[in-house]
Amino acid sequence: MNRLNQLPTLRIDPAEKRTLSYRGKSLPGVAGDTVATALFANGVRIFARSLKYHRPRGLYSLDGECANTMMDVDSIPNVRTENTLLKNGMVVKEQNVKGSAEFDWMGFIDKFDWMMPAGFYYHTMHKPAAVWPHAMKQIRKAAGLGEISPDYVMRGRFDELFLKADVTVVGGGAAGMRAALAAAEGGLRVVLLEARPHLGGCFDYRVSDNGDGTPLYQRARELAEQVAATTNIRVFTHAPLVGTYSNNLITAHQVGSDSDSFTERYIEIRSESIVVATGCIERPLLFDNNERPGVMQVGCAHRLARTYGILPGKQAVFAVGHDLGLEAAIDLFDLGLKIGCVADIREDGQNPDLLMALADRAIPVLKGWVAAKAHGKTVTKVTLTTVEGTVKRDFDCDLLVASAGLTPVTGPFIMAQAKMGYDNHTGYFLPTELPERMFPAGRLTGVGDPRAIEASGRLAGLQAAAACGVSLNGELDAAKAATAALPGPERGCKLVTAPVKGRKSFICFDEDATIKSVKQAIDKGFDVPELVKRFAGVGLGPGQGGIPGHNLPLFVAKYTASSATPKPTTLRPPLVPTFIATYAGAHHHMFKRTPLHKSQKAAGGVFRNIGVWKRARYFSDDFDCREEILNVRGNVGMLDGSTLGKFRIHGPDALKALQRVYVSDMSKVKEGRIKYSAMCNDDGCVIDDGVVVKRGENDYYFTTSTGRAGATVEWIRYHTRFDGWDFHLVNLTDAMGVINLSGPNARKVLAKVTDADLSSEAFPFSGYREITVGGSIPARAMRLGFVGELSYELHVAASYMQAVWDLLEEAGAEFGIRNFGVEAQNVLRMEKCHIILGQESEQRTNLLDVGLGFLWDRTKSACKTVGAVALRQAEKDPNRFKLVGIRMEDDDRPARDGALIVDTKVRGYVATMRKSFTTGEAVGMALVEKPLSDIGTRLEIFEDECNGVRLYARVVKMPFYDPNGERMKA
């Protein structure tokens, strides 16, 4: 097809060629084309088949308001080809066809529409119910849109942008640009969003003048230049609004061009005020076969020619209800389109200049006439009729430009919870009550005069600026006066449907819903639009109600002869389809590494996510960790324990705060000693454990479990919030790394790097010392025994951690020191029956259940211990769970962690169980109901996928290793 390459309105660059692949052929396009316009320029008229009836579908709106032109592009289904800019090498396919879009074997279904009335699925396939699973499969094969391969990997780069703005203007037409410029005058930060790839809106493609002799397209470009030159306006084109939320939160997504660093990006704007200048779309004219390829809206036909240089047909008929239709007919005629007739739904009210221009071109105008039927698979003929249906005439044509009228794009208002009403003069659904600091502008207010459109934009921009606190010194009044002096809202066309029965008059293209099916729904009692919408499936498709959104409530009101004011149906985000990948954005995986991460990795560490951290769980392919465990038991090992929570608490009331949250009497913390204790919640359920040391007067250092570190400061502050105590907390979790040096040779290794006296007398079990390592590095050393061996826990400044680790590794080389990971630690401490909260406990487990009742000091009275009241209750409860040691009857078959202990009911679960390399037994800990906790009780264990085969264990004494603790106290 030859393009109209010389038009000043073009948004394509005919000199820059593009190609796409379609049905194995390479088709040419040009820069600025959308996929749909490139296909249309190459003669493609049928783009896809409809969801249910497999009816042929073609270009209709050019703005992706319906699924008509959704295709498979580069293996992504349901791509709105009207909105997708053509890129070189795109591979485009039809979807939902058996055969081709031109000849679809499934097209016969269209003949059987009578078998599928509204609510077809609801009442046809559920009796008998057994039919449904089979019917559903067949329906899913026959219906639907595109399909995505389960193996498809989304390509591209997706990004996010979080903006702050004083004023956000939605819509980059003339009104939007004027609003942005006006708001920017006061120095405010202004964001301008435009869904199309360029600014201009309804001015962009029109050559009629704006009242002072300037063509509208030229005026739009002038405004765009002013906007570009205003530094405090940030413009985002090809960025459709996705949602508006309370407190003026706006979301959008932007499609990247070849020169952008992103494929698509999510934009979130927090704005002080909003101007909505989204303009109007066309309200579809309802007549038989109103969605046939060859039927298109006025703007679609006009923009095809003026923006993309493509004449939409050869011989056209117009059936329109507004002056833009007449203007388009004149302009397209001048560009070479033959026009058989213009049927204007309106009896009167046309712009006389336009009627004169039509007469000058000998284009017949039929007032009070409307299209009744389009003929042909693609349009070959149209039947026109008077709006009363009394007279009919046929016209041959390949293009029917049809539009009932305009209707405002009110999605932003509806999503922002504006109250909507019906305006009888314009025939528009308009907000009757707007959210705070939200202002409408432009054509959606009903004005059509170009100067009035601009004036309304400026007024809204100033109002938005004033809402941000800008003092306007009378400018606002002047803008109001200027707007009032210009033509106001225009009278709109009220006709909803041509005088037809409506069996093939489609009110919703996406869901193949017709006027007939709407009537069926209403006749069944679904007599309000929100119910019809769901029962007949009107507006539930990917077009988000763009096509039926306004016709449905109008038709329902007419058909039910309702005296109530029609209201539009609800819209919800996303207003336009948005890739999930766009929402995911760059998706940086944010996790914490310990100071030893690199060296642990170099040493063969296998990492796992543990809370917000990555930790080395294993150091070999042997995930049973035999060598790691035995080396600790028999020699010496080192563990990176840096993820432990670590805190300083200081101030005159620090002790009171500790007394409040710990169950023990913390006044008994002695300098040079460690105190192990636990925290409970108000229910007495144990939530954390750790050690506390006193470092000075009113100055303590304490540890928490890894998982609780992030919540500890808030936890303590929350539980002391009414006391007015003077204490302060500092989170040192990341500041200090931790090395756990464990094993019978631990003392020998540590002695090589420190001058401190490490003898058991000078530094006994449960002792705390501040020592120097390597001659200069300070370390806080604790004698602990979590793994059941002689152990030193060294707390070292994070930046020195690697140096200290290297020193110990060097010192321990002669003993065969080696790393051990989290799994080895898990087994070692399990053998000793030292619990890990979260593993030997769950949400309902209290301090007493896990055998930590000895920590609870019932006598301290100065501070009310969190959880103490509940623990007093729980102590008398005979039905609680109890933590017990268990051993499998088959030592070669340990049960899995989390396996259930059952009889006829669930009686408990296995917390941790491993084959112990130290004892040779399969042992572990389990939480069981008290009656099952006696030593020797046989337990029946159920595992996932056990196929009915139970495992058996018996309750045994704890701990399984070194019951007197001689090794760790050595």
């Binding site: 990004d159 996010e160 942008l161 979080f162 903006l163 702050k164 120095g187 930060r189 530094t231 405090n232 940030r234 660093s261 992103f262 979130e268 927090r270 760059a586 940086h588 995986h589 944010m590 996790f591 914490k592 590494r593 310990t594 100071p595 991460h597 917000v612 951290w613 300083r648 200081h650 101030g651 000075g696 009113n698 100055d699 003077d726 302060h728 500092v730 989170n731 040192l732 979790t733 990341d734 500041a735 200090m736 390597g774 001659g775 200069s776 590095i777 400044a797 994070a798 930046s799 020195y800 951690m801 690697q802 140096a803 290297d806 020193l807 590794e809 060097e810």
Partner: protein, 217 residues
Amino acid sequence: MAEIRRESPVDFGVRSLETEVRSDWPVALAYDAEGDGPWVVDLSHKTRWDLQDGQVGELTPAGQSVPATPGMSVLADGILINRMNRTQTSIYHLGSDAPDLPDHPGFTDVTEATIFLALFGPHALHIAEKLSNLDLGDPNKEAPFLLQGPFCHVPCQIVTLEKDAEDGTNGAGGFVLTCSRGYAQSMVHAILDAGAEFGLRPAGEQRFAQWLAALSS
């Protein structure tokens, strides 16, 4: 014997051009091809203090007054003092030397607790927009000012030291950021990735010192 050296949690993945060892910290002074900005600089070796006291507003850490209002910061003599809340202040020593930790019990040296990055130059605030919904260019606030909140989903303290002099929309300016040390590599990766389209490059301490001097002049 193993070398006694401190390690920054930040690794830009490129070798520095010039390095100096200071109190066991290897400090990158300059990188090759630092470009025309924006720049990201690792300041993790710079001393940071936490000061908490019921009367924090009346204290004068390092001889400077604590700002009266939470969210306010003051920068003087290379010391940045940020009022966090009613009782808490963070103190960053941006100059080359820091005094010893004062004897007052409310002070805690938290240098090791966080990473400390500076991001400045053209489009610095545009990079921040990609990672945080905090308003680093808030026209209602005069730099320096403190923000506390998520940056790339991680809780951070961010101090805007400079924003575009005219209207704050060209994204020029700069800020310093601290967050938990463990997030260092994730944060650096996210920042470098977000800044790639603007030509963000790692730079050495000298570049930061020049910027700081220009801010102070």
